[in-house]
Amino acid sequence: MECDKAYDLLIEREYGHLQESVQDELSSHVERCEPCRIEAASLDELASTLDRWRVPNPPPMLAALAVERSLNLPRHASAAEARAARVFAHLGLGLVAAALSMILVAGSVPRLSIPALSLGLIGAVWAAMYGAAFAQALHRVLRMRTIARTALLGAGLVVLAAPVLSIPSVVDACRQLFAGARGSFGLNMLLFVAGGLYTGIPIFVSAAVCGRALETTSVNRGGGHAGVLFAILIAPAVYIQCAALALGLVATWMAGSLLAAVAGPTAGIWVATRIAARQA
């Protein structure tokens, strides 16, 4: 065991949790190593010195006073109102995001084959989904918050990419490469890969940006959840763009896309946590 590591473990022994085997290894190192023995003694001394700082007791009746003040508040009214205000704020945000997405995505499709009523319905569903994701993005639990932010940023990137590079235009480009061989194995493979890249790159980027807050241990779960949430969020955009395409092509595209929706964030979070760990 090296002394640097021993020092970290000494702090861990004082304030964290050490496995028994590590503890034995540490003890035997400290026994043999003079500098670490001094380090251990000084850490002990530090801990007992910290305890010399005494602070006063609270004034009498402090808790009773605070409880009385709190209980006199009309809790249920104010809490319910606060919750309603939060819900409205998130729904408002969701509505704005859905409207912007709709303009960008529907505007990017050359032959829009969806009736206006259906578009309106998709918009409403989209607004609710975005609203819920925004609410989740402010969650107090770090993992939930990170997952929601990853999915939201990824969905935003997909929507922004739509006018520049819509799904029908990518499919057309792939088809031209295999002109004449409609439905061939090569075309399907190409569409599978293209769908994967189209979905995977934005979610990978957003996971690499947002994922550094997570622990390395939660990479798999975090990635899976972020991928599912992301797939749900971009589903309306994919549906609007693919409605005019042949079903077979869409199915291949979707297969690649779904695979990437799960693999992309997992890889992104993995990269982000590794970089964060190395920096720490």
Binding site: Y15, E45, T49, N57, A63, R75, L142
Partner: protein, 190 residues
């Protein structure tokens, strides 16, 4: 003694006595937490009251599956940060007025009264000073771990940061306090 979480569920159902017991149970720890973060006695009492008030307002938001202590310290930490922000704004306004009136910048008052309190023990004063020199983030972790005796995962949940970050902040804080105290010859070893 009933677990915090059990009392909290009862408080959620409208049991005032359960809510009162929780407030009493955390009276001294929370009051001392605010003192250690740098509040004076009066301010710490106010901050404690504010924390209990916010706990009450957020009763419904508490998920009984989560550790109550981490949840409570999370609220307390937010209350503390909020009070610091307000204090900073007030200070900025005061200095601006002083500048306008005298045409001279006023010496900003110190963030905390270092001679306040009942602490006559010089070593205790040295520890207080050393900890007050830490950044707000490092100080919070050191105080929550050493004095409030929260575990690393509890601190992570309370502050909304990863456990790894809690650990590295704790290491950093200990190193800072240790070198400060060694320089002042408060520590003998090392």
């Amino acid at each position: 003694m009933e677990a915090d979480e059990v009392l909290m569920v009862r408080a959620q159902a409208g049991d005032r006595e359960a809510f009162g017991s929780l407030a009493t149970r955390y009276e001294t720890p929370l009051f001392r937490f605010f003192c250690r973060m740098g509040a004076e006695t009066d301010a710490a009492a106010d901050l404690f009251q504010e924390t209990i008030l916010q706990l009450y307002e957020r009763l419904d938001a508490y998920d009984p599956a989560r550790l109550f202590r981490a949840w409570l310290y999370g609220i307390a930490h937010l209350v503390w940060k909020d009070s610091r922000r307000q204090a900073a704004r007030r200070l900025e306004r005061l200095t601006r007025w002083a500048t306008l009136e005298r045409g001279l910048p006023e010496e900003p008052p110190a963030g905390q009264d270092l001679d306040a309190g009942l602490d006559r023990d010089l070593i205790g004063v040295a520890v207080r000073l050393a900890i007050s020199h830490l950044s707000e983030e490092h100080r919070a972790v050191l105080i929550l771990r050493h004095y409030q005796e929260l575990t690393y995962p509890e601190i992570a949940e309370a502050l909304g940061i990863p456990v790894g970050t809690v650990k590295s902040r704790m290491h950093h804080a200990l190193r800072g306090v240790k070198s400060d105290l060694s320089r002042k010859k408060v520590l003998e070893v090392g």
